[in-house]
Amino acid sequence: MIDNYVYVIVALLPLSALMLVTQTNPYNALVIRAILGAVAALVYSVLGGADVALTEALVGTMLAVTLYVIAVRSSLVMRLGILAQKPDLTEDYITEFIASLRKVIKKHHLRLELVEYPDRDSLKQALLNREIHGICDRSGTSNIDNNPVYQTTIRVHRLFEILQKEFTYPDLKISYITPPNSEDKH
């Protein structure tokens, strides 16, 4: 009574769902979610639910995936405060530093967003106000080879752990700070 191909088509749904839950990269998982939506629309229409299939195609494949890409993009970000660079003073070691930092946090699917502040006080204040996740500032030059020493202060503990474990850059100090008066905001 039920045709044979219906069983095979229905079996595609758990297959693609398994594929979805084994993904680690959030963006790859969202593309697989779109594939799951297409397969689900096929299954629903084979089983006779044309309205459910239409909803799945419109919401599951298009709307949810698009909105989730935007949401993931704006939440998986590390905001690092730096001092505003003077245009005549081209410091290429800071671009080198930023590039290697970007490489480390990219392994955890994070983006790096640089926020510039005019002076040290406003930089510090922004960290204490929880506007940014960390600051980076040069605190002098090392004695050995005259390279600048970077003092990086992070206020998110997980981020601090990741950087401490994986970020190996010469002349770099990483410290962790808990901002005072914890109003409940992040």
């Binding site: 045709d3 191909y5 969202l30 297409a38 084979v46 006779g48 299939a53 419109l58």
Partner: protein, 83 residues
């Protein structure tokens, strides 16, 4: 007609496997493009097979919605890699 549908399901399994084993996001997007077209054509075939035109309308809408969603997603992912 049943064997035609089974052959279509076999053709659908190829991009699903490809989306599972390749880690590059653009290869996954290609696999998704292939799957979106194939599923809606399969829906059309089933609607003709059963002579049920509500499924046919859904198939055509899914066809164009899938492609539109794919283009939106492609532009978003491109922006993502630029920033």
């Amino acid at each position: 007609m049943d064997s035609i549908l089974i052959a279509m399901i076999l053709a659908l399994l190829i991009p699903i496997y490809e989306a599972w084993q390749d880690d590059d996001i653009w290869q996954k997007m290609l696999a998704f493009a292939s799957i979106a077209t194939k599923t809606s054509i399969m829906m059309l075939v089933i609607s003709v097979l059963r002579d049920d035109w509500s499924i046919g309308v859904v198939a055509v809408i899914t066809l164009s919605v899938g492609e539109a969603g794919l283009m939106l997603l492609a532009h978003l992912i491109k922006r993502l890699n630029e920033a």
